[in-house]
């Protein structure tokens, strides 16, 4: 399954990506599974998703929780709690 992932704010700076297209292996079908899979990339990624700081997720512009499922072509975004206004 192919998805686009966007990163914003502090997370974008930490991972040094603003966006990427990835092919997910079978079984990576939820936000939490995606976080787990990305954590395998190395120390920076592991620390990002280890729960020590809040990382919010959106699928196709809608805020979702950890158990939300991914579909082919989805736009996933990871970002810190928002601070606008």
């Amino acid at each position: 399954m192919n998805v686009t992932i966007l990163y914003f704010a502090r997370i974008k700076e930490v991972v040094n990506y603003s966006s990427e297209q990835v092919s997910l292996p079978d079984g990576v079908e939820t936000i939490i599974a995606l976080k787990s899979w990305l954590s395998g990339r190395g120390e920076v990624w592991k620390k990002l998703f280890d729960g020590s700081s809040v990382v919010r997720a959106a699928i196709n512009h809608e805020l979702v929780d950890e158990l939300a499922t991914l579909d082919e072509g989805d736009e996933v975004a990871f970002f810190p709690p928002v601070t606008g206004g």
Binding site: L6, A9, E62, L63, P80, V82, T83, G84, G85
Partner: protein, 173 residues
């Protein structure tokens, strides 16, 4: 809702002129008896850091004068989030019109960041809807602020009180 331009939601880098925006809202809602307006401004001081984060990026965070604020957002999602918030407000209060403008990019100290103006027949609806929109914007709209000062920069921390402010609307009524 008589005039198409009574509802105006915009994300922009450009400054806005408060008087002009309020006049536009007033003219688009001639039946209005009450207009309430919120303006959020770039403060001239760094915001306090969370204890867990203090000094992580910069020993000077949490104090000192602020030069500017950089505001990032998630194009596409931002507009949807703001529209969804406005629709919730319109479903809950009898609003005649609304102006919601949020700036992005680099803003100098004391510059206006956000304007929310609500128009209604009576003041209670206008006050409550305006506060509601700000409370939801603070927790649901994908904007992120970075403060920039003479000795560095740091991302603003989300405040727990903002989440609490939003939750109160769910218990109300």
């Amino acid at each position: 809702m008589a005039h198409a331009d009574a509802w105006h939601i915009c994300v922009q880098a450009e400054p806005f002129e408060v008087g002009q925006e309020l006049n536009a809202l007033q003219q688009a809602t001639p039946q209005a008896g009450a207009i309430v307006n919120f303006i959020g401004l770039v403060r001239d001081q760094f915001s306090p850091s969370e204890a867990s984060n203090a000094g992580a990026d910069n020993p000077d965070t949490g104090k000192g004068s602020l030069e500017a604020m950089q505001i990032e957002h998630y194009p596409g999602m931002t507009e949807k989030a703001l529209n969804a918030i406005a629709q919730q407000a319109a479903a809950r209060w009898p609003l005649l019109g609304l102006r919601l403008i949020h700036r992005i990019g680099r803003l100098e100290a004391q510059a206006p960041i956000v304007l929310v103006a609500t128009s209604s027949l009576h003041r209670q609806a206008a006050f409550e809807a305006c506060a509601f929109i700000m409370d939801y914007l603070k927790t649901d709209a994908p904007f992120w602020k970075k403060e920039i000062g003479p000795q560095g920069e740091h991302w603003v921390e989300a405040r727990a009180t903002d989440e609490q402010a939003k939750q109160q609307w769910k218990h109300a009524q």
